[in-house]
Amino acid sequence: MKIMEIELDKQLDLIEDNVNIGKTNLLLVCFQLLAGLLVLFSLSAFILISSANLIVDLLPDATVWKAQELMKVEFLAGSVSADAEIQAYLQEISDRLKAATPMRDIQLKLIYVKDKDVNAYAVPGNMIMVTSALYEEASSENEIAMILAHEQGHFYYRDHLRALGRKMSLLLLTVLVAPSADIGSLLDGLVGGLLLRYSREQEYKADAFGLDLMNKVYGGNAAGVIDFFERLQKKEGTSAKFTAFLSTHPLSSERVAALKENITQNGMKDGTKIPLRIKKVEKAEDSAE
């Protein structure tokens, strides 16, 4: 057929040269897009989080305490202490420390719980929780006081509100940018690490605040202050530095280093450690330690 004969050559050309698909390298495009999105999202997250932090800084004290009251963890508030004597002792140390801070008029309730995990929390709602495992491991009053002072630092710096602000910033961003769940979780993962960085920053500041408070209340005595952190450092071992970026707390070795530097800067001297007034019956704690 005539028509077919004329067009045959052109048809062969068409088979080789495909106008319907793009010529760009898709891998390149993909990474360009990823990089661009990462930068954009991180920048927006940074701006939002900085604004949230600024707001928390500017809030008057009364509002902050009220807000923290609202965040109160109810089931803890009414809990029975694992040991009333120890709790009272801890409360006394905490109150003595608090009296040297601007928070002296606020009540921070001490809660002593039985738990095999070594931990101390600043709990939203003006409570500090200490586990029995932590107390049993402690070798001096100075050590416990430093831990309590650190937790008070979290309240002083309004860290619970900051954490809330961060989480809400991330939530807001994900909701705005991500129409579907997949993109949301992708961006969450990318920027979630950023949030952990802020959390670690907070821990350093609380450490510094705690040390400062110890300096004031315990008369420049540096004894026993870094014991807890050095013990943590030993427990963490050398492999911890690979997963450190996933953690809400900095590497213990870094914390110890920062504390030691602060000790010299503050001019604190090594003195005698005050032994724990109430010792656990099972362990015979030696004060000469």
Binding site: L8, I21, G22, L27, C30, L34, L37, L190, K241, F245
Partner: protein
């Protein structure tokens, strides 16, 4: 310091699967295109037309409806790229080759249906997204392309 480690760690876990799936998809698509081109050259003597009637016609012995359909899908990498695109906007090049392959394959299959026919007239295309269409997410999982027309057998 630990943040940089974390960043590289995260990027590594994202980059490696992407490159892996890109490579797989590239190979699969390359093989398909090769097959398509080969068959198109073989069947070049059997043209298809979009028009209903040719200006020059011989006597028609027989005519019938023929259709060819194919379901094609894209790989994980292309899907990921399309998702990124959906945030920023612009040409979704990832899907272009998918549609092109679907169309050409469908036409080839349609021609397979009538190997003795002189030409196929009035060829049209229909496409439908299947597989993930029930999902709320706007991603195409698989695409069905249908090509149909009238096969014409001329009197010899």
């Amino acid at each position: 310091m630990e943040d940089l480690f974390g960043l590289f760690f995260g990027l590594f876990f994202m980059v490696v699967p992407l490159v892996f799936f890109w490579a797989i998809g590239h190979m699969v698509e390359g093989a398909h295109y090769k097959s398509i081109k080969k068959r198109e050259i073989i069947k070049i003597k059997q043209p298809v037309f979009n028009i209903k009637r040719l200006p020059e016609e011989g006597a028609v012995r027989h005519a019938e409806l023929v259709c060819g359909s194919v379901v094609v899908s894209i790989d994980y990498f292309k899907r990921f790229l399309a998702m990124l695109r959906s945030i920023v906007g612009g040409r979704v090049e990832a899907y272009e080759s998918l549609l092109d392959r679907g169309r050409r394959e469908a036409v080839l299959r349609m021609k397979d249906k009538c190997p003795q026919a002189d030409y196929v007239l009035n060829v049209r295309f229909e496409s439908a997204a299947i597989g993930k269409s029930a999902d709320q997410s706007k991603q195409i999982g698989s695409l069905e392309v249908l090509a149909y027309g009238t096969a014409v057998y001329l009197q010899k």
